[in-house]
Symmetry: C2
Subunit: 368 residues, 2 copies
């Protein structure tokens, strides 16, 4: 099925459903990570490494940057942290070059036009955009950053769309609330994606380079179905099944739609990194758990928007309109209240985790 290979970048433009207008939650993640970035750079970045020669620019990439402005705040944090570290050693600070990376279909026009450079500011770095899977020349990057992006899978695992597979995910749009075969299929895809991701990044990074990843996950022992995000996936799936029964859409359409997202356990990530062998986990921690009501409220607004957009792509417009109408007009406040209050009770299972990986020194001709 070709459809599952299609890219789903965040919504472009500046309109009411754009990422620019609907990413206050993701901004919260970037802000919360600021102190960790400074700490990680101070403790773990080895500027004595010959690949950090300050006559060459210090190269950073933000993977899954979307359209801004969150990525600009994140990159500012990284650049400031590295400059501060250079002040503590007898070496001139290098120039900085930031590569903004996302899907080819990401709205790079909006990203470029809102770069801080265009407002007369001097953000202290040069900027470039890179579309696609960012396979870049060897030993390019000194620091990689990815915030709230790697929970997205490259595609829906095939098994969950296959009627003959025990992992067929009939009547659901995600692994939440599904049986273990479905969860395993999603984890399998996450494992493949992360392994491929780490291998590619290992090629692109200098030995000793650092990578900082922030992504939502659940703590070991927790269940995704008990988290707010899990609940919303489950409830939206139920709505669609009901709509199919009412004739607004078909069962087949519901069965072939799945949200390509996996929220890993800590042990999931550790397992992938161990098997991959290119990186070491230098630091792992919880950035925050979803505890505050207002934060949750914004979270669910974003989630609702995302799901609406995905549905828009997968269903005929008429069905989508009905769905949006149903959601926004009839039940929006009720659902928001319900979700907020339920998720508030269960929230400590759902965490935003932050990981620092260091690229091992093997494989880099200049550093090994």
């Amino acid at each position: 099925m070709d459809a599952i290979e299609v890219q789903y970048p965040m919504n472009g433009g500046h309109g009411p459903y754009s990422y620019v207008q609907n990413s206050s939650y993701q901004k919260g993640v970037v802000d919360a990570a600021r102190d960790v970035i400074f700490q990680v750079v101070a403790e773990k970045l080895d500027l004595g490494n010959p690949c950090f020669d300050s006559s060459n620019p210090f190269r950073i990439a933000d993977l899954g940057c979307s359209t801004g402005p969150n990525t600009f705040f994140a990159m500012q944090n990284v650049v400031e942290a590295v400059k501060l570290k250079y002040q503590s050693i007898p070496q001139t600070s290098p120039e900085f070059l930031v590569f903004f990376n996302d899907h080819t279909d990401n709205d790079f026009n909006v990203l470029f036009r809102s770069l801080p450079h265009n407002t007369g500011a001097s953000p202290g770095y040069f900027a470039a955009g890179v579309p696609g899977s960012l396979l870049f020349p060897k030993n390019t990057f000194h620091f990689l950053h990815s915030s709230y992006a790697l929970q997205w899978l490259s595609k829906v695992p095939k098994e969950v769309l296959d009627r003959d597979s025990p992992a067929w995910n009939k009547g659901k749009i995600h692994y939440t609330g599904s049986d273990e075969h479905v969860t395993k299929a999603f984890f399998g895809q996450f494992q493949k994606d992360m392994d491929g991701f780490l291998k590619a990044r290992a090629q692109e990074m200098v030995g000793g380079g650092l990578m900082l990843i922030q992504l939502p996950g659940i703590r070991n022992g927790g269940l995704f179905s008990q988290t707010g995000a899990g609940m919303i996936h489950f409830i939206l799936g139920s709505c669609l099944v009901e709509m199919a029964k009412m004739g607004y859409t078909t069962e087949e359409k519901v069965d072939t739609f799945n949200v390509p997202q996996y929220h890993p356990l800590i042990e999931d990530l550790e397992m992938v990194v161990d098997m991959n062998k290119c990186f070491t986990i230098e630091k792992a921690g919880v950035l925050f758990t979803l505890r505050t009501e207002s934060f949750l409220y914004f979270h669910f607004l974003d989630t609702i928007h995302f799901l609406s957009f995905s549905l828009f792509r997968s269903f005929p417009y008429s069905v989508f309109s009905l769905f949006v109408s149903f959601w926004h007009n009839l039940n929006f406040y009720a659902w928001s209240w319900f979700l907020t209050s339920r998720a508030f009770i269960l929230s400590d299972f759902h965490e935003i985790r932050i990981f620092t990986f260091a690229r091992k020194y093997s494989g880099c001709s200049r550093c090994s």
Copy 2:
């Protein structure tokens, strides 16, 4: 007057007035330059230079790339030429990294989505986009390329819009057919722009790096007003003056509109490069003169489209519609025939010139 500072990138998208659909002439320039690129790389590129260490990627930029696909053909030519040169020496070919550069308002979305990488092709280089004036880290580029872009000035020179200046360009939209004060004002702007351009590029290029520039110009002793391009600027200006008399627009609007373009004499460029002192001219030649009728026809189609777009930005839509209607419906074929036949007679004054500049070795800590 702020309006003159506004960017005018080529038209984005894939529509009937897009650059993608109206750049066959520019494609002709790129194709004609292919052999010169191979020759210049073979003769002038010094791969023994320490800055051309093949453990680092060979970095190229296309300045004024617009939306494609011409830029992809041009970059393919450069990459192939450099790879061929590496085959002739006992050194492994490096990886290649191409930076596509144009105004921030250029349609990078169209550019990125049409990259050859997306069609499953392996063009042999990694790609990034750079918006704006491309001030990049020192010693970044090994090869710079710019095709049919540098005739565009950064802005209309102030003097030609100033009623109190002897260079006030009343009743005309370009220096063609105007007196020498106007021509001098346009040349002054070209001189400033080129000087700034060369200084910035000298910072960004490695010592010994090459820059290949293709731009339309006139041969020493020629007059721009006698070329096809000069004629079309003059005739369009006259049309607008007539339209102002007929009340379709105002005299003031015509007087404040000028096409920010300068087609240099060879001696103009030589003077700027000599004064600038960062580069040497390694090779200069005529890529072609406008002799073939079919080529001219395409040329004027493009020119007509460009001018229509500029007018669209500068005049109210209603006036623009009238103008387009007047142009396309009443006189299009007559004008085309007239311009083609006239310009055919005069065409050998209008040349596409190609220059190869080498970055001098001073100022580069690694090369000097």
